[in-house]
Amino acid sequence: MNRRNWGLWAVMALGYAFLYVPILSVAVYSFSASRMATVWGGFSTRWYAALFANEQIMEALGRSLTIAALAASFATLLGTASGLALSRFGRFPGRGLLSLMNSAPMVMPDVMLGLSSLLLFVSLQQALGWPERGMSTIMIAHVTLTACYVTVVVRSRMASLDDSLEEAAMDLGARPWRVFFLITLPLVAPALLAGWLLAFTLSLDDLVIASFTSGPGASTLPMLIYSKVKLGVTPEINALATLIVTVVGLGVVVAGILMHRRERRLSA
């Protein structure tokens, strides 16, 4: 290989190192016995034990997982409806508005989404006495944030699908909802899974919107991490970060491999 390619490879190696070394170093220090978060003090798993014994963290983790699972499920429902409407229904009144409201949350800074959702909840509470700020309000805000990502995934999947199968089923006399459940849904299933996973991780990551919409005593895991990080790096957070990144990374890789296999089987 010539000299130019060596330069390219050097930049690539540097780029990948930049992407991975910080998180790997956190993983390494999470196994250090030292109380200092960035000093090596011999191998130990004591910070993992301390993590699981920390009720505050475990409680916040449970809360975050609940919110993420519920929000992702409802967002998948809404996003599929939007995706279906925008890709299959042709022109209908309000199409432009629906499309705009589905792309706007993605370019909106999350401080804005958080503030506007909170002000809505406060106004509703004043007028109707509902909702109480807490897990439910975080969940509603997360559904609004993540549904549009599901829409994008579902919409692009539907656009790449040939609609002749659906048309054939209709020609053979199948009712629209049967066509949807028997033909369209199985074909877009990988997109639904990808959309759900995306919504789940986005909700699990979110600090800003949750901070705005949460109520007293309903701290999510990112809120707890943020308040600890503001005080400095701790070995416990190192362990927590390592666990979360490992689980999410493995989940995404496994889901990717499964979907890839299914696609190959279907196309074969």
Binding site: S103, L119, P222, Y226, A241, I244
Partner: protein, 329 residues
């Protein structure tokens, strides 16, 4: 309005009402003829109207209120009822006046733009060679390299920003590396400087730049480069005159995906930056949580919407129309 003919205002409102009426009729027809479709569309529509569109009207409303401390909610009502039951509308523009007068806010906006644009540039400089390498790699390698770019995108941005803290401390790897090159004083911490914010944004948003670039470069026909070489172009000439122009759509898409969220970014400047890394997102956060000045926070949000989001949506709209036109032609 005063310049319009006497009938001008009337006919304008007449049009509005007629259009609204027509729209309702169309919706009604849709409901009667295609009920299933109507319900499928109505569910996300109502949700987004209630939880996304209406909140912005409330933000707009509260931005015209005045902060009152020690009560809940901490702002004045816009419509006040007097003793005899008459309602009066009270608009306060004081929040907006403060935004324009106090250099803190204009400075924060400029600082956000600076952070976002410099970081976007560095994302491009680092991301382009990587995307190029991925696009030219053999298929097996390409898959692996792509997965390695996508993976960080799925993992928490808060945790990755946290991971950067250790790297940027006085004895951190990046601090040492930059000191070895001579960019910073040896033994000094980069953490809590503007440089740390740049590094943090590039680290967090690099995948957003690489993915659209790779998609464009993979579609590029590399025979064009051979043709350019055969015709006597030097490699850098071929790059500047063939590869670069053809990868422009990817560059624009990647730059937008990095720039837009970076302007409103809160977590990275807050955790990695110093107290002077005051971005617009941080100002909104502080006004809301620390100063509890809700009307001012709402006014900052409205300013952000006008200066950042609306230009983006207009740009996207124009791009879509252009693409559709070109696709048809």
């Amino acid at each position: 309005m005063s310049a319009a003919a006497p009938g001008g205002a009337w006919s304008f409102w007449n049009d509005v009402v007629r259009n609204l009426f027509g729209w309702f009729r169309a919706v009604g027809r849709e409901f009667r003829t295609r009920r299933g479709r109507f319900l499928v569309t109505a569910l996300p529509m109502l949700w987004l109207l209630l939880f996304f569109a209406v909140p912005f009207l409330i933000v707009l409303k509260i931005s015209f209120a005045e902060a009152v401390f020690g009560q809940s909610p901490p702002y004045t009502p816009l419509v006040e009822r007097t003793a005899d039951g008459a309602a009066s509308l009270k608009l306060h523009a004081s929040s907006y006046a403060l935004l324009l007068q106090d250099p803190l806010y204009v400075g924060a906006y400029l600082k956000s733009l600076l952070f976002a644009s410099v970081s976007t540039l560095f994302c491009l400089l680092l991301g382009y060679p990587i995307a190029y390498g991925i696009a030219r790699a053999r298929p097996v390698w390409r898959m692996l390299l792509l997965v390695l770019v996508i993976l960080p995108f799925w993992t928490s941005s808060l945790l990755r920003t946290y991971a950067m803290i250790g790297m940027l401390k006085a004895n951190g790897l990046i601090s040492q590396a930059l000191a070895a090159v001579g960019l910073v004083e040896p033994g000094s911490a980069i953490l809590h400087t503007d440089l740390a914010v740049y590094i943090g944004i590039v680290y967090n948003y690099l995948p957003f730049m690489i993915l659209p670039l790779t998609a464009t470069l993979m579609r590029l026909d590399f025979k064009l480069l051979e043709a350019a070489a055969d015709l006597g172009a030097r490699p850098w000439q071929a790059f500047l005159r063939v590869t670069l122009p053809l990868s422009m759509p990817g560059i624009i898409a990647g730059a937008l995906l990095v720039f837009i969220p970076a302007v409103g970014e809160f977590v990275i400047p807050d955790i990695l930056g110093g107290p002077d890394a005051l971005t617009i997102g941080r100002v909104l956060w502080t006004e809301f949580f620390t100063n509890r000045d809700w009307p001012l926070a709402a006014a900052v949000a409205v300013a952000m919407l006008l200066l950042l989001v609306i230009p983006t949506l207009v740009f996207e709209y124009v791009e879509n129309r252009r693409e559709r036109r070109e696709g048809r032609a």
